[in-house]
């Protein structure tokens, strides 16, 4: 109690020495120092966000080019030209790795984590601001290396984002002698960046919460980002080790993954998926957290079973370390092992389903407001459900033998990742936009963008489910060479998927215009436009350097006290004393 009192005392408005020092630095900062060399967690969050958005354009362009080749083999793709077989491999690889490593990770974890954690726990910054800046700079370095790899001799890496040896290890196979090591280096540097960021996030949450904020007063989205960061830290190590080994295989000719030299190519698959499967939950959990925030706010109702959500998230995280070998069912692993991994894989759907039920229970009996962020959150539940349910087929090793490497896998995967990386990210950007810029996004155009994304999304991947069930193999450059895969209707489905993709991409222009127009010209939003309880809404919009100009808040209650019977208003901010 006494420590709480001293803390509030020592750091009241303006009299904290740190504040003074910040104030001094302010007027001498030029544009470059303010936006590129800043240690402010919000600016660093924006740096991650905008880099992620830029990379999404690259990933989106890559998928446009190779999907056009699949639908109309041999055509000269407008804006790209003819897609050769080598180009095709490079485009597929680029799309996959960019969307996961350079879009989903930076936007969902790094950008949101940086922006939200200090604000939502009532701190003025991260505990290590300069480490935070370094982490973004490392990330930027990885982006630059990756982009450079597009222009070297042989072009960008063409060994798929999973980078299985021997395809990835030998230039004779992947035909990208320089692209491969550059890609691997970029990925490894990016991991180092996120490790630094993750350590910063976890330490910040553990040590810098506002006075009075107990463990179970922390908003779900912060919990989720932290659990995801710990999952990342605990799972990425073997892949970092594997990346060093693969880099040696590529460049100096060691044989870690070469059976001729006593190595083992399946070892890479284990190292990769030991990271790769927890990685699914690394990005899923923040998206789940975003949805929890939005659903409670716009249902005006307390989150159903707050603690259960946290326990299930921890359970999901723990279980996610024991499912990785379901990617190797046909790689020659012991069938007894396949049985065990089938069981663990099917088990993991239970905690995830439980979170879904909690969200639906939160909606039940609430007074629902269908704003744009709420639409995205609801769409997340619906679309992710389809992704999860189709995973059951693939987790069962018997069915997976048939479905392995078909478009069914691909469609399942995109039904989970698109809701996570895009629906989740759009939900977050539309929800926190008023906080970030102090202005509203246009609701009408927001809804146009919503429907223009959700409808084509289903028209892309439902056809791909059907194709996969008919045996369509996923790594084929030109299907006209495979009569079995050119049965009546199959090419029509491919064309339908491609055209839907073009429509989906076109509607993203609506988002970009709405985003940047609203950032400067949108209707003014106050500090708490959604009447939410969490601490970030109690700071001004946009929050200044140091976040809370009236002194850092104290916390008196949990984050979801909506429609409390004793209160006039239907919300009760965490920091309001009465």
């Amino acid at each position: 109690m006494s420590s709480t009192a001293t803390e509030t005392h020592g750091h009241g408005p303006g009299d904290g020495h740190a504040h003074d020092a910040h104030g001094h630095g302010h007027h001498e900062q030029n544009f470059f120092l303010k936006y590129f060399w800043s240690t402010d967690h919000k600016i660093i969050g924006f740096q991650y966000l905008f880099t992620g958005m830029f990379m999404a354009l690259i990933g989106g362009f890559a998928v446009y080019a190779f999907r056009m080749q699949i639908a109309f083999p041999g055509m000269s793709v407008p804006g790209y030209g003819r897609v050769t077989a080598t180009d095709y491999n490079a485009l597929v690889t680029t799309h996959g790795s960019v969307m996961i490593f350079w879009v989903a990770m930076p936007v969902l974890i790094a950008a949101l984590g940086n922006y939200l954690i200090p604000l939502m726990i009532g701190a003025d910054d991260m505990v290590f601001p300069r480490l935070n800046r370094l982490s973004y700079q490392l990330f930027l370095l990885s982006v630059i290396i990756l982009i450079c790899s597009f222009f070297v001799d042989g072009g960008a890496f063409g060994g798929a984002w999973t980078s299985y040896p021997p395809l990835s290890a030998k230039p004779e196979y992947n035909l990208t002698p320089l692209g491969a090591p550059l890609w691997l280096t970029a990925v490894a540097i990016e991991f180092a960046a996120f490790l630094l960021g993750g350590i910063n996030f976890v330490t910040t949450l553990m040590n810098s919460r506002a006075p009075g904020m107990k463990m179970f007063d922390v908003p779900i989205v912060v919990w989720m980002i932290i659990i995801a960061s710990i999952l990342f830290m605990a799972s990425v190590g073997p892949l970092v080790a594997g990346a060093v080994m693969l880099l040696f295989d590529q460049t100096v000719g060691t044989g870690f993954f070469d059976p001729k030299k006593g190595g083992d190519p399946v070892l890479w698959q284990h190292l990769f998926w030991f990271f790769g499967h927890p990685e699914v939950y690394v990005v899923l959990l923040p998206a789940m957290g975003i949805v929890a925030e939005i659903i409670t706010t716009f249902s005006r109702k307390k989150l159903f079973a707050y603690k259960t959500v946290i326990y299930t998230a921890v359970g999901t995280g723990a279980l996610s370390f024991f499912v990785w070998a379901h990617h190797q069912f046909i790689a020659g692993i012991d069938p007894r092992m396949a049985n065990i991994f089938s069981v663990t894989t099917l088990l993991i759907s239970i905690p995830v389903a439980e979170m879904m039920f909690v969200y639906i229970a939160t909606l039940f009996g609430g007074s629902i407001r269908l704003t744009t962020p709420m639409l995205w959150a609801l769409a997340f539940i619906g679309e992710f459900l389809l992704g999860g349910v189709t995973g059951i087929f693939l987790g069962a090793s018997g069915a997976d033998i048939y479905f392995h490497d078909t478009y069914f896998v691909l469609a399942h995967f995109h039904y989970t990742f698109f809701p996570i990386a895009f629906i989740g990210a759009f939900a977050a950007t539309t929800y926190w936009f008023p906080k970030m810029f102090g202005r509203f996004m246009n609701e009408t155009w927001g809804k146009v963008h919503f429907w223009g994304t959700i409808i084509p999304f289903n028209f892309i991947f439902i056809p791909l489910f059907l194709l996969g069930a008919r045996g369509d193999h996923r790594r084929i450059y030109d299907y006209t060479h495979f009569p079995d895969l050119m049965k009546p209707g199959m090419q029509d489905l491919r064309i339908l998927a491609t055209l839907s993709l073009v429509v989906l991409l076109a509607f993203q222009i609506v988002f970009l215009v709405n985003y940047f127009y609203s950032a400067f010209r949108g209707a003014k939003a106050g500090a708490n436009p959604w009447q939410a309880n969490t601490l970030e809404w109690q700071a001004p919009s946009p929050p200044p350097h140091g976040n809370f100009p009236d002194g850092l808040p104290n916390v008196y209650r949990g984050p979801y006290e909506f429609s409390h019977p004793d209160r006039q208003e239907d919300y009760w901010p965490q920091n309001s004393a009465s």
Partner: protein, 193 residues
């Protein structure tokens, strides 16, 4: 360096553990899985290939044992530095940190003689997958030793002036971790024949 205005967030300590120490613990947690990946792969290969013993017998067990002794002693010096820092004796802490650095340097010198000798006998990174593991695992460890030496030199410089003495304990934690990794590497690479 220390003129950087620290945010209030850095000065808070809800857990009661200092923020720097907490961060080092998380750093160590993430490093454990990195070394776990290398060593796990190596152990699985050794189990699958008993014939690698014929390569492993060319490692110099005595050099490895001597290095183990050196690293353990340097860890003791790190503990003494921490003790001095607890008593706010920056000069003494710096002195013991320099002894720790000396231990790390001796370790690297022994290692470089060892590797030179092995490479001269044709046991290179690419000659056999055992040696690939040997150089990769010990190389990553050696990199950690070098990084530790640099950090300790910086911290000793500050500690001498009595600045940020809490860092002495944090770097000590890291150094013990580097030491413990070697405790795993030594039997796996040198003794298992």
């Amino acid at each position: 360096m220390s003129s950087f205005p620290r945010p209030i967030a850095t000065t808070r300590s809800v857990t009661g553990i200092s923020t720097g120490k907490l961060a080092v613990w998380w750093l160590i947690a993430s490093e454990i899985v990195i070394f776990g990946g290398v060593l796990g792969s190596y152990v699985m290969h050794r189990i699958g290939h008993p014939e690698w013993a014929s390569q492993a017998e060319h490692t110099n067990t005595w050099a490895g044992a001597f290095n183990t002794f050196v690293l353990l002693t340097s860890s003791l010096m790190a503990v003494l530095a921490h003790q001095a820092a607890e008593h706010k004796d920056g000069k003494k802490a710096a002195k013991f940190l320099y002894f720790t650095i000396l231990g790390g340097l001796v370790f690297l010198v022994v290692k470089s003689f060892e590797w030179t000798n092995e490479i001269h006998h044709g046991f290179t990174l690419t000659s056999h997958t055992f040696w690939s593991f040997y150089y990769t695992a010990a190389g990553i460890h050696g990199l950690h030793v070098i990084i530790g030496l640099i950090i300790m030199a910086v911290i000793a410089q500050d500690a001498k002036k009595g600045i940020d003495l809490q860092r002495v304990e944090a770097v000590g934690l890291y150094w013990h971790f580097v030491d413990i990794v070697w405790i795993f590497l030594f039997p796996l690479l040198y003794i298992a024949k």
